[in-house]
């Protein structure tokens, strides 16, 4: 830019010929700009994918937190039942209440045995 572009004095016939007949440059294919925008901004898809990943991660985290709360909650304590099966405390409680409510079987025999012992 600093020097004169077209110093007429020193310009030769070849200089003039080359400048006058510069080769025509083929035009860009139609839609090249859009194509390039898609290439340099894969973002449109990338961003969706990134946000989808964030969404999935967030959902999983929330789910894990929910499960942890449910599992650790004090009113759902798991214990082993009589046959080794897992029962919840509410079931144990129900079982115990039922057991105490039932009258003792063979009550008369027991009393009779006790009476016998007393007679001896």
């Amino acid at each position: 830019m600093n020097e004169p572009k077209d110093p007429k004095k020193s310009e030769t016939g070849l200089d003039r010929f080359l400048r006058a007949h510069r080769p025509g440059v083929p035009d860009a294919p139609r839609g090249e700009l859009e194509l390039l925008l898609r290439k340099i901004n894969p973002p449109a898809e990338g961003r969706n994918f990134a946000s989808r990943r964030k969404w999935i991660a967030g959902t999983l985290a929330a789910l894990a937190a929910g499960i942890a709360v449910i599992v650790m909650s004090p009113w759902v304590v798991r214990e082993s039942g009589p046959q080794g099966q897992v029962v919840e405390s509410s079931e144990i409680e129900a079982f115990a209440l039922e057991a105490f409510a039932e009258p003792l079987e063979d009550d008369s025999e027991t009393v009779a045995m006790l009476d016998l012992d007393w007679e001896d």
């Binding site: 830019m1 020097e3 070849l14 200089d15 510069r22 080769p23 083929p26 035009d27 860009a28 340099i40």
Partner: protein
């Protein structure tokens, strides 16, 4: 001599002052340098693969725009990337050293015997003459005469010293002069 029927543009590529606002928006960048990049690559490698190479150059420019420090003109920086894309392509296709020998070109001992339409197609003749130069010489002629770069701008774009640019120009012009003379063009 045949003329390619595809649409071509002969206007000088648009060149902007380095305000660098082109680097903020790809569309602005594309519109500012589309002609420059295409012209540089076309004059260096020809029509074949021009579209792919131009797109590669655009993507490279855009991806490395943060490396542009403003120490040079944006136009010479863009041309440098385009030239490198062109050189890489020529190297990959084994055309980096090949140039048409002047002796292989059909001489036309009787200039006036050429048909009128052929004498009119000087542009195609210039294109043919460019193929007689090796890539670095082709590049300096293209930048100097087709894109109106100054010697210092060519030096900046090619990464060579100004002395080297001048000597390449001298050699290239000498060769072109011989080519045109063989073709019967009076200059």
């Amino acid at each position: 001599m045949t003329r390619n029927n595809s649409r071509t543009t002969t206007r000088t590529p648009r060149r902007l002052d380095p305000s660098f606002e082109e680097l903020e928006d790809f569309e602005v960048f594309y519109r500012a340098y589309e002609r420059t990049i295409r012209a540089t690559l076309f004059q260096l490698v020809g029509r074949e693969h021009l579209d792919d190479l131009a797109q590669t150059a655009f993507i490279k420019c855009w991806q490395s725009r943060e490396q542009f420090q403003g120490g040079s003109q944006l136009s010479t920086w863009v041309v440098r990337i385009a030239l490198n894309v062109g050189y890489d392509h020529l190297r990959a296709t084994g055309r980096d050293k090949g140039m048409v020998e002047l002796e292989e070109i059909d001489a036309n001992p009787e200039p006036d015997a050429r048909p009128p339409e052929e004498t009119l197609d000087e542009r195609a003749l210039v294109e043919e003459g460019m193929r007689c130069l090796d890539p670095p010489h082709r590049a300096v002629i293209a930048l100097r005469y087709f894109q109106e770069f100054s010697i210092s701008e060519i030096a900046e774009a090619t990464g060579e010293a100004e002395g080297t640019v001048k000597s390449r120009l001298h050699y290239a012009k000498e060769r072109l002069q011989r080519f045109f003379s063989r073709k019967g063009v009076k200059l």
